[in-house]
Protein backbone atom coordinates (compact mmCIF):
# COMPACT_ATOMS: atom_id res chain seq x y z
CA UNK A 1 0.00 0.00 0.00
CA UNK A 2 1.35 3.44 -0.87
CA UNK A 3 1.08 6.58 1.26
CA UNK A 4 -1.61 8.14 -0.94
CA UNK A 5 -3.89 5.14 -0.47
CA UNK A 6 -3.11 5.02 3.23
CA UNK A 7 -4.04 8.72 3.67
CA UNK A 8 -7.20 8.04 1.78
CA UNK A 9 -8.10 5.06 3.96
CA UNK A 10 -7.35 7.03 7.12
CA UNK A 11 -10.48 9.06 6.37
CA UNK A 12 -12.51 5.90 6.87
CA UNK A 13 -10.60 4.48 9.80
CA UNK A 14 -12.16 5.61 13.03
CA UNK A 15 -11.40 3.95 16.37
CA UNK A 16 -15.03 3.45 17.32
CA UNK A 17 -16.82 3.31 14.02
CA UNK A 18 -14.45 2.17 11.32
CA UNK A 19 -15.92 2.23 7.85
CA UNK A 20 -13.25 -0.10 6.49
CA UNK A 21 -13.63 -3.81 5.99
CA UNK A 22 -11.17 -6.15 7.72
CA UNK A 23 -8.92 -6.49 4.68
CA UNK A 24 -8.43 -2.74 4.19
CA UNK A 25 -8.07 -2.22 7.93
CA UNK A 26 -5.29 -4.81 8.10
CA UNK A 27 -3.57 -3.34 5.04
CA UNK A 28 -3.71 0.15 6.56
CA UNK A 29 -2.29 -1.04 9.88
CA UNK A 30 0.44 -2.86 7.98
CA UNK A 31 1.38 0.35 6.15
CA UNK A 32 1.30 2.48 9.29
CA UNK A 33 3.63 0.01 10.98
CA UNK A 34 6.31 0.59 8.34
CA UNK A 35 5.68 4.25 7.37
CA UNK A 36 6.59 6.74 10.13
CA UNK A 37 5.14 9.72 8.20
CA UNK A 38 1.71 8.18 7.75
CA UNK A 39 1.75 6.76 11.25
CA UNK A 40 2.52 10.19 12.63
CA UNK A 41 -0.29 11.75 10.60
CA UNK A 42 -2.70 9.05 11.74
CA UNK A 43 -1.80 9.57 15.39
CA UNK A 44 -2.12 13.33 15.06
CA UNK A 45 -5.51 12.96 13.39
CA UNK A 46 -6.71 10.56 16.03
CA UNK A 47 -5.48 12.68 18.88
CA UNK A 48 -7.07 15.79 17.44
CA UNK A 49 -10.33 13.97 16.90
CA UNK A 50 -10.29 12.56 20.42
CA UNK A 51 -9.41 15.94 21.84
CA UNK A 52 -12.14 17.79 20.03
CA UNK A 53 -14.60 14.93 20.46
CA UNK A 54 -14.12 14.97 24.20
CA UNK A 55 -14.66 18.71 24.26
CA UNK A 56 -17.77 18.43 22.15
CA UNK A 57 -19.18 15.67 24.34
CA UNK A 58 -18.47 17.58 27.49
CA UNK A 59 -21.94 18.97 27.98
CA UNK A 60 -23.27 18.89 31.54
CA UNK A 61 -26.69 17.31 31.83
CA UNK A 62 -29.10 19.50 33.84
CA UNK A 63 -30.34 18.16 37.13
CA UNK A 64 -33.74 16.46 36.86
CA UNK A 65 -33.79 16.48 33.07
CA UNK A 66 -34.86 12.85 32.85
CA UNK A 67 -37.74 13.41 35.31
CA UNK A 68 -38.89 16.50 33.45
CA UNK A 69 -38.85 14.62 30.18
CA UNK A 70 -40.86 11.76 31.65
CA UNK A 71 -43.37 14.16 33.18
CA UNK A 72 -43.80 16.06 29.94
CA UNK A 73 -44.34 12.82 28.03
CA UNK A 74 -46.91 11.69 30.60
CA UNK A 75 -48.72 15.02 30.31
CA UNK A 76 -48.69 14.82 26.51
CA UNK A 77 -50.05 11.29 26.66
CA UNK A 78 -52.83 12.25 29.08
CA UNK A 79 -53.68 15.32 27.01
CA UNK A 80 -53.93 13.16 23.92
CA UNK A 81 -56.35 10.80 25.62
CA UNK A 82 -58.40 13.73 26.90
CA UNK A 83 -58.58 15.19 23.40
CA UNK A 84 -59.44 11.77 22.01
CA UNK A 85 -62.25 11.34 24.54
CA UNK A 86 -63.56 14.84 23.91
CA UNK A 87 -63.47 14.24 20.17
CA UNK A 88 -65.28 10.91 20.67
CA UNK A 89 -67.99 12.60 22.72
CA UNK A 90 -68.36 15.32 20.09
CA UNK A 91 -68.64 12.74 17.31
CA UNK A 92 -71.25 10.74 19.22
CA UNK A 93 -73.19 13.93 19.99
CA UNK A 94 -73.02 15.01 16.35
CA UNK A 95 -74.21 11.62 15.12
CA UNK A 96 -77.04 11.61 17.66
CA UNK A 97 -78.05 15.12 16.58
CA UNK A 98 -78.03 14.12 12.91
CA UNK A 99 -80.11 11.00 13.64
CA UNK A 100 -82.57 13.03 15.71
CA UNK A 101 -82.90 15.72 13.06
CA UNK A 102 -83.34 13.09 10.36
CA UNK A 103 -85.98 11.29 12.42
CA UNK A 104 -87.92 14.48 13.09
CA UNK A 105 -87.59 15.49 9.46
CA UNK A 106 -88.81 12.13 8.24
CA UNK A 107 -91.72 12.11 10.67
CA UNK A 108 -92.71 15.59 9.63
CA UNK A 109 -92.36 14.75 5.95
CA UNK A 110 -94.47 11.67 6.37
CA UNK A 111 -97.11 13.62 8.24
CA UNK A 112 -97.34 16.14 5.40
CA UNK A 113 -97.10 13.56 2.66
CA UNK A 114 -99.92 11.15 3.50
CA UNK A 115 -101.23 9.32 0.42
CA UNK A 116 -104.11 11.19 -1.32
CA UNK A 117 -107.21 9.06 -1.77
CA UNK A 118 -108.62 8.47 -5.23
CA UNK A 119 -112.03 6.69 -5.22
CA UNK A 120 -111.30 4.79 -8.45
CA UNK A 121 -108.03 3.54 -7.11
CA UNK A 122 -109.61 2.64 -3.78
CA UNK A 123 -112.31 0.50 -5.35
CA UNK A 124 -109.83 -1.13 -7.67
CA UNK A 125 -107.49 -2.01 -4.82
CA UNK A 126 -110.37 -3.22 -2.65
CA UNK A 127 -111.74 -5.49 -5.37
CA UNK A 128 -108.30 -6.86 -6.15
CA UNK A 129 -108.05 -7.95 -2.54
CA UNK A 130 -111.40 -9.73 -2.70
CA UNK A 131 -111.25 -11.61 -5.93
CA UNK A 132 -113.45 -14.65 -5.69
CA UNK A 133 -113.14 -17.95 -7.52
CA UNK A 134 -115.89 -20.43 -6.60
CA UNK A 135 -114.55 -23.69 -5.20
CA UNK A 136 -115.41 -27.06 -6.64
CA UNK A 137 -116.53 -30.26 -4.95
CA UNK A 138 -113.17 -32.06 -5.22
CA UNK A 139 -111.35 -29.10 -3.74
CA UNK A 140 -113.75 -29.05 -0.77
CA UNK A 141 -113.40 -32.78 -0.10
CA UNK A 142 -109.62 -32.60 -0.35
CA UNK A 143 -109.53 -29.71 2.16
CA UNK A 144 -111.74 -31.61 4.63
CA UNK A 145 -109.55 -34.69 4.35
CA UNK A 146 -106.47 -32.59 4.87
CA UNK A 147 -108.04 -31.26 8.08
CA UNK A 148 -108.77 -34.75 9.41
CA UNK A 149 -112.39 -35.32 8.27
CA UNK A 150 -113.32 -38.24 6.10
CA UNK A 151 -116.30 -37.01 4.03
CA UNK A 152 -118.61 -37.94 1.23
CA UNK A 153 -120.33 -34.83 -0.06
CA UNK A 154 -123.95 -35.26 -1.10
CA UNK A 155 -124.45 -36.16 -4.77
CA UNK A 156 -127.79 -34.43 -5.10
CA UNK A 157 -126.55 -30.84 -4.90
CA UNK A 158 -125.69 -28.70 -7.87
CA UNK A 159 -122.07 -27.86 -7.15
CA UNK A 160 -122.07 -24.90 -9.50
CA UNK A 161 -123.80 -23.16 -6.56
CA UNK A 162 -121.06 -24.13 -4.10
CA UNK A 163 -119.89 -20.82 -2.62
CA UNK A 164 -117.54 -21.87 0.19
CA UNK A 165 -116.68 -24.61 2.66
CA UNK A 166 -115.43 -24.63 6.21
CA UNK A 167 -115.57 -26.48 9.52
CA UNK A 168 -118.69 -25.42 11.36
CA UNK A 169 -119.88 -25.87 14.93
CA UNK A 170 -122.55 -28.49 15.28
CA UNK A 171 -123.60 -29.92 18.65
CA UNK A 172 -120.28 -28.79 20.10
CA UNK A 173 -118.31 -30.58 17.42
CA UNK A 174 -116.47 -29.27 14.41
CA UNK A 175 -118.01 -30.78 11.32
CA UNK A 176 -117.51 -30.19 7.58
CA UNK A 177 -119.93 -27.64 6.20
CA UNK A 178 -120.73 -26.61 2.63
CA UNK A 179 -122.37 -23.31 1.75
CA UNK A 180 -124.41 -23.13 -1.46
CA UNK A 181 -125.58 -19.80 -2.84
CA UNK A 182 -127.92 -19.57 -5.77
CA UNK A 183 -128.27 -16.28 -7.64
CA UNK A 184 -130.91 -15.13 -10.03
CA UNK A 185 -130.35 -14.01 -13.61
CA UNK A 186 -129.29 -10.55 -12.46
CA UNK A 187 -126.69 -11.92 -10.06
CA UNK A 188 -128.70 -11.23 -6.90
CA UNK A 189 -128.62 -13.81 -4.15
CA UNK A 190 -131.89 -15.70 -4.19
CA UNK A 191 -131.27 -18.75 -2.03
CA UNK A 192 -128.67 -20.10 0.40
CA UNK A 193 -128.17 -23.57 1.87
CA UNK A 194 -125.76 -24.86 4.49
CA UNK A 195 -125.00 -28.56 4.43
CA UNK A 196 -123.48 -29.99 7.64
CA UNK A 197 -121.86 -33.39 7.08
CA UNK A 198 -122.11 -35.66 10.11
CA UNK A 199 -120.06 -38.84 10.17
CA UNK A 200 -120.56 -41.99 12.20
CA UNK A 201 -117.12 -41.39 13.77
CA UNK A 202 -118.54 -38.27 15.42
CA UNK A 203 -122.20 -39.13 15.96
CA UNK A 204 -124.44 -42.15 16.40
CA UNK A 205 -126.41 -42.00 13.17
CA UNK A 206 -128.37 -45.27 13.51
CA UNK A 207 -131.61 -43.74 14.63
CA UNK A 208 -131.85 -41.35 11.71
CA UNK A 209 -134.37 -41.87 8.96
CA UNK A 210 -133.34 -41.80 5.31
CA UNK A 211 -134.92 -38.43 4.88
CA UNK A 212 -136.55 -36.06 7.33
CA UNK A 213 -137.95 -32.62 6.70
CA UNK A 214 -138.76 -30.15 9.49
CA UNK A 215 -142.50 -29.58 9.66
CA UNK A 216 -142.21 -25.83 10.04
CA UNK A 217 -139.73 -23.06 9.49
CA UNK A 218 -139.63 -19.39 9.95
CA UNK A 219 -137.04 -17.84 7.73
CA UNK A 220 -135.08 -21.02 7.07
CA UNK A 221 -136.12 -24.59 6.60
CA UNK A 222 -134.17 -27.72 7.39
CA UNK A 223 -133.85 -31.30 6.18
CA UNK A 224 -131.85 -34.30 7.34
CA UNK A 225 -130.66 -36.81 4.79
CA UNK A 226 -129.21 -40.17 5.78
CA UNK A 227 -128.58 -41.91 2.45
CA UNK A 228 -125.75 -44.13 3.66
CA UNK A 229 -124.74 -45.58 7.06
CA UNK A 230 -121.49 -43.60 7.36
CA UNK A 231 -122.84 -40.07 6.79
CA UNK A 232 -125.83 -37.91 7.40
CA UNK A 233 -126.43 -34.40 6.00
CA UNK A 234 -128.19 -31.66 7.89
CA UNK A 235 -129.36 -29.03 5.40
CA UNK A 236 -130.49 -25.56 6.38
CA UNK A 237 -131.82 -23.47 3.52
CA UNK A 238 -133.76 -20.38 2.67
CA UNK A 239 -136.73 -20.24 0.36
CA UNK A 240 -139.64 -22.59 0.07
CA UNK A 241 -138.05 -25.51 -1.64
CA UNK A 242 -134.63 -26.97 -2.02
CA UNK A 243 -135.13 -28.44 -5.47
CA UNK A 244 -133.62 -25.48 -7.30
CA UNK A 245 -130.30 -26.22 -5.56
CA UNK A 246 -130.34 -29.86 -6.58
CA UNK A 247 -129.59 -31.67 -9.79
CA UNK A 248 -131.82 -34.19 -11.43
CA UNK A 249 -130.76 -37.80 -11.00
CA UNK A 250 -129.63 -38.10 -14.59
CA UNK A 251 -127.36 -35.04 -14.29
CA UNK A 252 -125.60 -36.24 -11.15
CA UNK A 253 -121.82 -36.26 -11.62
CA UNK A 254 -121.38 -39.28 -9.38
CA UNK A 255 -123.44 -42.36 -8.84
Amino acid sequence: MDCRTARHLLEFSRPCASELDDHDQDALHGHLAVCPDCDSTARAEREADQHLGQAVRDVPIPQGLRERLMRRLREEREAWYRRWLARGVRVVAAVAAVVLIAWFGLSSWRKHNLPRLDPDQLTKVALERHQYAPPDRDEAEAWFRKNGHRVATPDDFNYSFLFSFHLGEFLDKKVPCLLFVRTDDEGRQSQVAWVYILSKEQFDLKALEDKFESPSGSHFKSQVWHPQPEFAYVIVYSGDRLDDMLVSKKDRPRS
Binding site: R4, R7, H8, L10, E11, F12, R14, C16, A17, E19, A44, E47, A48, D49, H51, L52, G53, A55, V56, R57, D58, V59, I61, P62, L65, R66, R68, L69, M70, R72, L73, E76, R77, W80, Y81, W84
Partner: protein
Protein backbone atom coordinates in the same frame (compact mmCIF):
# COMPACT_ATOMS: atom_id res chain seq x y z
CA UNK B 1 -50.87 11.49 13.98
CA UNK B 2 -51.75 8.19 15.58
CA UNK B 3 -52.27 7.26 19.18
CA UNK B 4 -49.32 7.46 21.59
CA UNK B 5 -46.88 4.55 21.49
CA UNK B 6 -46.45 2.13 24.35
CA UNK B 7 -45.47 3.99 27.50
CA UNK B 8 -42.85 1.38 28.37
CA UNK B 9 -41.18 1.65 24.96
CA UNK B 10 -41.12 5.43 25.12
CA UNK B 11 -39.65 5.41 28.61
CA UNK B 12 -36.96 3.00 27.46
CA UNK B 13 -36.12 5.33 24.59
CA UNK B 14 -35.78 8.20 27.04
CA UNK B 15 -33.53 6.18 29.36
CA UNK B 16 -31.23 5.16 26.54
CA UNK B 17 -31.01 8.34 24.50
CA UNK B 18 -31.87 11.43 26.47
CA UNK B 19 -28.27 12.25 27.38
CA UNK B 20 -27.02 11.99 23.79
CA UNK B 21 -29.97 13.90 22.43
CA UNK B 22 -29.62 16.68 24.97
CA UNK B 23 -25.91 17.09 24.21
CA UNK B 24 -26.62 17.15 20.50
CA UNK B 25 -29.38 19.70 21.01
CA UNK B 26 -27.14 21.82 23.21
CA UNK B 27 -24.37 21.86 20.65
CA UNK B 28 -26.85 22.76 17.94
CA UNK B 29 -28.51 25.57 19.84
CA UNK B 30 -25.88 26.68 22.34
CA UNK B 31 -28.56 27.19 24.98
CA UNK B 32 -29.55 24.94 27.88
CA UNK B 33 -33.18 26.01 27.72
CA UNK B 34 -33.43 25.53 23.97
CA UNK B 35 -31.62 22.20 24.20
CA UNK B 36 -34.04 20.91 26.84
CA UNK B 37 -36.99 22.18 24.89
CA UNK B 38 -35.75 20.53 21.72
CA UNK B 39 -35.11 17.26 23.54
CA UNK B 40 -38.65 17.32 24.95
CA UNK B 41 -40.09 18.08 21.55
CA UNK B 42 -38.13 15.20 20.07
CA UNK B 43 -39.46 12.66 22.57
CA UNK B 44 -43.02 14.00 22.27
CA UNK B 45 -42.88 13.56 18.52
CA UNK B 46 -41.36 10.12 18.93
CA UNK B 47 -44.12 9.15 21.35
CA UNK B 48 -46.84 10.16 18.92
CA UNK B 49 -45.15 8.57 15.91
CA UNK B 50 -43.67 5.45 17.45
CA UNK B 51 -45.36 3.28 14.84
CA UNK B 52 -42.98 4.79 12.25
CA UNK B 53 -40.01 3.21 14.00
CA UNK B 54 -39.61 -0.05 12.09
CA UNK B 55 -36.54 -1.48 13.82
CA UNK B 56 -35.58 -0.72 17.41
CA UNK B 57 -31.88 -0.85 16.54
CA UNK B 58 -32.48 2.24 14.38
CA UNK B 59 -34.05 4.15 17.26
CA UNK B 60 -31.00 6.32 17.87
CA UNK B 61 -30.74 7.36 14.23
CA UNK B 62 -34.48 7.99 14.14
CA UNK B 63 -34.45 10.17 17.27
CA UNK B 64 -31.49 12.23 16.10
CA UNK B 65 -33.22 12.79 12.77
CA UNK B 66 -36.36 13.98 14.56
CA UNK B 67 -34.31 16.34 16.71
CA UNK B 68 -32.45 17.78 13.75
CA UNK B 69 -35.68 18.31 11.80
CA UNK B 70 -37.25 20.00 14.81
CA UNK B 71 -34.20 22.23 15.12
CA UNK B 72 -34.23 23.10 11.41
CA UNK B 73 -37.92 23.90 11.65
CA UNK B 74 -37.21 26.37 14.43
CA UNK B 75 -34.32 27.90 12.58
CA UNK B 76 -36.48 28.39 9.50
CA UNK B 77 -39.32 29.76 11.59
CA UNK B 78 -36.94 32.24 13.12
CA UNK B 79 -35.78 33.05 9.58
CA UNK B 80 -32.19 32.32 10.33
CA UNK B 81 -30.65 31.77 6.97
CA UNK B 82 -27.79 29.29 6.82
CA UNK B 83 -24.48 30.90 6.06
CA UNK B 84 -22.00 29.65 3.55
CA UNK B 85 -18.73 28.20 4.75
CA UNK B 86 -16.56 30.59 2.80
CA UNK B 87 -15.16 31.67 6.11
CA UNK B 88 -13.95 28.19 6.91
CA UNK B 89 -10.25 28.00 6.61
CA UNK B 90 -8.12 25.18 5.33
CA UNK B 91 -7.42 22.19 7.48
CA UNK B 92 -4.12 22.69 9.34
CA UNK B 93 -1.40 20.32 8.36
CA UNK B 94 0.44 20.14 11.71
CA UNK B 95 -1.18 20.31 15.10
CA UNK B 96 0.57 21.74 18.17
CA UNK B 97 2.06 19.39 20.77
CA UNK B 98 0.51 19.03 23.26
CA UNK B 99 -2.96 19.95 22.07
CA UNK B 100 -4.27 22.96 23.98
CA UNK B 101 -7.29 22.69 26.27
CA UNK B 102 -10.49 23.62 24.53
CA UNK B 103 -12.36 26.49 26.09
CA UNK B 104 -16.08 25.48 26.32
CA UNK B 105 -17.33 28.94 25.41
CA UNK B 106 -14.95 29.16 22.48
CA UNK B 107 -16.07 25.72 21.32
CA UNK B 108 -19.72 26.67 21.44
CA UNK B 109 -18.97 29.95 19.71
CA UNK B 110 -17.07 28.13 16.97
CA UNK B 111 -19.91 25.65 16.54
CA UNK B 112 -22.46 28.44 16.47
CA UNK B 113 -20.56 30.12 13.69
CA UNK B 114 -20.63 26.97 11.62
CA UNK B 115 -23.54 26.76 9.21
CA UNK B 116 -25.92 23.98 10.23
CA UNK B 117 -25.06 21.81 7.24
CA UNK B 118 -21.51 21.58 8.62
CA UNK B 119 -22.37 21.64 12.30
CA UNK B 120 -24.68 18.64 12.18
CA UNK B 121 -22.23 16.18 10.63
CA UNK B 122 -19.37 17.25 12.88
CA UNK B 123 -21.52 16.87 16.00
CA UNK B 124 -22.77 13.47 14.94
CA UNK B 125 -19.24 12.48 14.02
CA UNK B 126 -17.63 13.58 17.24
CA UNK B 127 -19.80 12.67 20.09
CA UNK B 128 -22.29 10.14 18.91
CA UNK B 129 -19.95 8.35 16.57
CA UNK B 130 -22.49 7.71 13.87
CA UNK B 131 -21.14 6.07 10.76
CA UNK B 132 -20.84 8.16 7.62
CA UNK B 133 -23.75 6.20 6.26
CA UNK B 134 -25.91 7.09 9.31
CA UNK B 135 -25.00 10.76 9.01
CA UNK B 136 -25.74 10.71 5.30
CA UNK B 137 -29.10 9.08 5.98
CA UNK B 138 -30.04 11.61 8.65
CA UNK B 139 -29.10 14.52 6.45
CA UNK B 140 -30.42 12.94 3.29
CA UNK B 141 -27.12 13.51 1.53
CA UNK B 142 -24.64 11.38 -0.42
CA UNK B 143 -21.83 9.97 1.73
CA UNK B 144 -19.24 11.88 -0.32
CA UNK B 145 -20.91 15.18 0.49
CA UNK B 146 -21.01 14.26 4.17
CA UNK B 147 -17.28 13.49 4.18
CA UNK B 148 -16.48 16.68 2.37
CA UNK B 149 -18.44 18.72 4.87
CA UNK B 150 -16.90 16.85 7.77
CA UNK B 151 -13.41 17.59 6.51
CA UNK B 152 -14.17 21.29 6.19
CA UNK B 153 -15.91 21.46 9.56
CA UNK B 154 -13.04 19.68 11.26
CA UNK B 155 -10.61 22.14 9.70
CA UNK B 156 -12.75 25.01 10.94
CA UNK B 157 -12.84 23.72 14.50
CA UNK B 158 -9.16 22.90 14.55
CA UNK B 159 -8.22 26.28 13.20
CA UNK B 160 -10.45 27.99 15.77
CA UNK B 161 -9.75 25.84 18.80
CA UNK B 162 -6.40 24.18 18.60
CA UNK B 163 -4.33 27.31 18.56
CA UNK B 164 -3.50 29.93 15.97
CA UNK B 165 -0.41 28.08 14.89
CA UNK B 166 -2.34 24.99 13.96
CA UNK B 167 -4.43 26.85 11.47
CA UNK B 168 -1.53 28.48 9.72
CA UNK B 169 0.98 25.67 9.62
CA UNK B 170 2.07 24.82 6.16
CA UNK B 171 0.20 24.62 2.93
CA UNK B 172 -3.23 23.05 2.68
CA UNK B 173 -2.71 19.30 2.78
CA UNK B 174 -4.03 16.89 0.22
CA UNK B 175 -7.26 15.48 1.54
CA UNK B 176 -9.06 12.37 0.52
CA UNK B 177 -12.20 14.45 0.25
CA UNK B 178 -10.73 16.91 -2.21
CA UNK B 179 -12.85 17.05 -5.27
CA UNK B 180 -15.88 15.38 -3.67
Amino acid sequence: MGMPGSQRTVERLVEEHYVGLYRYAYRLTGSEADAEDLTQETFCKAQMNLSQLRATDRAKNWLFTILRNAYLHRVRTEKQQPRSLDLVGDVPDVLPEPLPDVDPDQLQQALAELPEVYRTPILLYYFEEFSYRDIAEQMDLPIGTVMSRLARAKGWLRSRLLGPDAATLGPRPRRATDGL
